[in-house]
């Protein structure tokens, strides 16, 4: 761990440095407009001319008026510290002092990030459980039946080539028309994205026992279900966990995409609302919350994997 800390810090610092620099040309138009309103003389003075000028040229011609690049209210690219403040305000400050915060109302504020992250988390977990269950069942079917393999596998592959952003609104509309809304449609999208890696990994894992291990079962005259329970399933556990790590990340993406079209809470809704109102730091804060959630989920699967494998005596 000690050895990786240095390089990781270096990379983070480099990213922050590039970010701060990039804020200047990205935000230069808004900065100059604001400066002009405050009475400064910017070049070129004509707003139309300024609209057509390049961002880098504007920066070079107005080096004296760029002070607000990192403190704009609605910056195109907010500076990292602005995002950090947004994160702080929408989590700790909102919950501790907000009228709807947990301290004053007893429940998480629906204007805070924690509440929305929670919504996304539950949709993700529900979708992941459905997707994983379905994936394992499909894999068991595929391994035991040639017909099933021929008929299901191509569809499973095709299903993954359809862009989820195109499919998500349709799923939501269709489910809405049969009276389903809220958490379930998101979970369906989430499951749709996570079942595939599980199918692929589990098929491989269920087929991983070699011929001599299968022969051994054969000499015991073991039934197919005994072979499945006593040999194929235990042998597939390491493969399953590799798939689960991919699957849970896909589930999170699915839940967020499912939240975009419906403004009913969640990190996806938060991102879209941010872009409607030009609240870019809100988008970035939601993005960072999503990344943190992903890290937490993948880490949890990793911890579960280590525990399971240790209990199974392997490793």
């Amino acid at each position: 761990m000690k050895g990786t800390l240095g390089p990781v810090l270096t990379v983070i610092l480099a990213i922050l440095a590039i970010w701060y620099v990039a804020c200047v040309p990205m935000n230069v138009r808004e900065v100059l407009s604001a400066a002009e309103r405050d009475g400064a003389v910017v070049t070129p003075t004509d707003p139309v001319e300024r609209r057509d000028a390049g961002a880098v040229g504007l920066v070079l011609n107005n080096t004296a008026h760029l002070g607000a690049s990192w403190s704009l209210d609605r910056a195109k690219l907010p500076a990292p510290h602005q995002i950090a403040v947004e994160l702080w305000n929408t989590t700790v400050v909102e919950e501790m002092t907000g009228r709807r915060g947990i301290v004053n109302s007893g429940s998480l504020s629906n204007r805070g990030l924690v509440y929305h992250a929670g919504i996304t988390l539950w949709a993700t977990v529900l979708g992941f459980v459905i997707g994983t269950g379905l994936g394992i069942l499909l894999a068991v079917g595929i391994v035991h039946s040639r017909t099933m393999e021929m008929s299901v596998m191509p569809w499973a592959i095709v299903s993954q080539t359809i862009p989820i952003v195109a499919l998500a609104p349709m799923i939501i509309v269709v489910l809405y028309s049969v009276g389903l809304q809220g958490m379930l449609p998101k979970a369906v999208i989430s499951a749709y994205l996570s079942f595939f890696p599980v199918v692929v990994g589990m098929v491989k894992g269920l087929r991983s026992p070699d011929q001599s291990q299968l022969d051994l079962m054969h000499t015991y005259n073991a039934s197919k279900s005994a072979v499945l329970v006593k040999l194929r399933l235990p042998a597939s556990v390491p493969y399953l966990f590799a798939s689960l790590k991919i699957g849970i990340a896909a589930s999170l993406v699915g839940a967020i995409v499912g939240e975009l079209p419906v403004q009913q809470g969640g990190l996806g809704a938060r991102m879209l609302a941010g872009s409607y109102y030009g609240q870019t730091s809100q988008i970035w804060a939601a993005l960072i919350a999503a990344a943190a959630l992903a890290a937490l989920l993948v880490w949890s699967i990793g911890a579960l994997e280590r525990r399971t494998l240790r209990r199974m005596g392997v490793v």
Partner: protein
């Protein structure tokens, strides 16, 4: 003939492979009586494994007759007539030694109490008492092989088929396990089919030595050993032992020269 446990008549097996048919067994005739210890010896590729797998119902002969306990090999397999020890110990890494031995017992539906009692008994039989809770990777190769023998013994099949079980072990361990195997055979009165590449091992263990030769795989000699059933390790220095070993070597050489 009444106590013939395994009987093969004009047994043929041809594998259809990508580059033409492979005659793994041609016109194999052999009778194994109850309580026999039969070794199969011969150069690589002469069909020893294939013959054992036929007996076990893992391969289907393409011609001839083969009966096990008067049944077809497949019926015998369903009656759980034999335990099979593969060349690699093949213990499941996620099960303890006890768990591995319990595997066939669970599949065959023995009661919990019966399972525990049998595991304890066979572990003592192969000298592994106290290792029940260990995982396979915590055991040496020789111990793993003994555990896999215990697993084959656990459900009390009267035929034990072993395919080069000690092939990967050093001479000292091998000698020790051979001695143990003979004691175990004497105690349990099982019929044993045993594949080996080692002439001394075959002569030391067997009541019947089957010499095979390749292309096509067939039996060239069957030697009924005159050695007593009670065999200390130093029986290997007696003239009788040396004479049998000589005959086996001659049989192997003859098989080679015919090529």
């Amino acid at each position: 003939m009444t106590d013939a446990v395994i009987s093969a008549q004009h047994l043929d097996l041809t594998f259809q492979t990508g580059d033409g048919p492979v005659h793994a067994l041609r016109d194999v005739n052999l009778t194994i009586d109850k309580g026999d210890f039969v070794s199969f010896i011969g150069p690589s590729g002469c069909g020893k494994t294939t013959f054992l797998r036929c007996i076990a119902g893992l391969e289907t002969p393409t011609g001839g007759d083969l009966t096990v306990n008067g049944m077809t090999p497949d019926e015998a397999r369903k009656a759980r007539a034999y335990g099979y020890v593969f060349q690699a110990a093949g213990l499941y890494p996620w099960r303890t030694i006890g768990g591995n031995i319990r595997l066939p017992l669970e599949i065959m539906g023995f009661s919990k109490a019966d399972q525990a009692e049998r595991v304890k008994r066979v572990l003592e039989l192969v000298d592994l008492a106290g290792f029940e809770k260990k995982y396979p990777w915590q055991l040496s190769g020789g111990m793993q092989q003994r555990a896999s023998i215990a697993r084959a013994l656990a459900f009390d099949a009267d035929i034990l088929l072993m395919d080069e079980p000690f092939g990967a072990l050093d001479e000292i361990v091998r000698d020790h396990l051979n001695e143990e195997l003979l004691k175990l055979w004497a105690r349990t009165e099982k019929t044993i089919g045993f594949v080996t590449h080692s002439i001394p091992e075959a002569v030391y263990l067997s009541t019947k030595i089957v010499v095979m030769s390749p292309r096509p795989g067939r039996i060239t000699d069957v030697i009924d050993s005159p050695l007593p059933r009670e065999r200390p390790l130093d029986i290997r220095d007696t003239p009788e032992f040396i004479a049998i070993a000589h005959r086996v070597r001659e049989g192997l050489r003859a098989g080679h020269q015919e090529d």
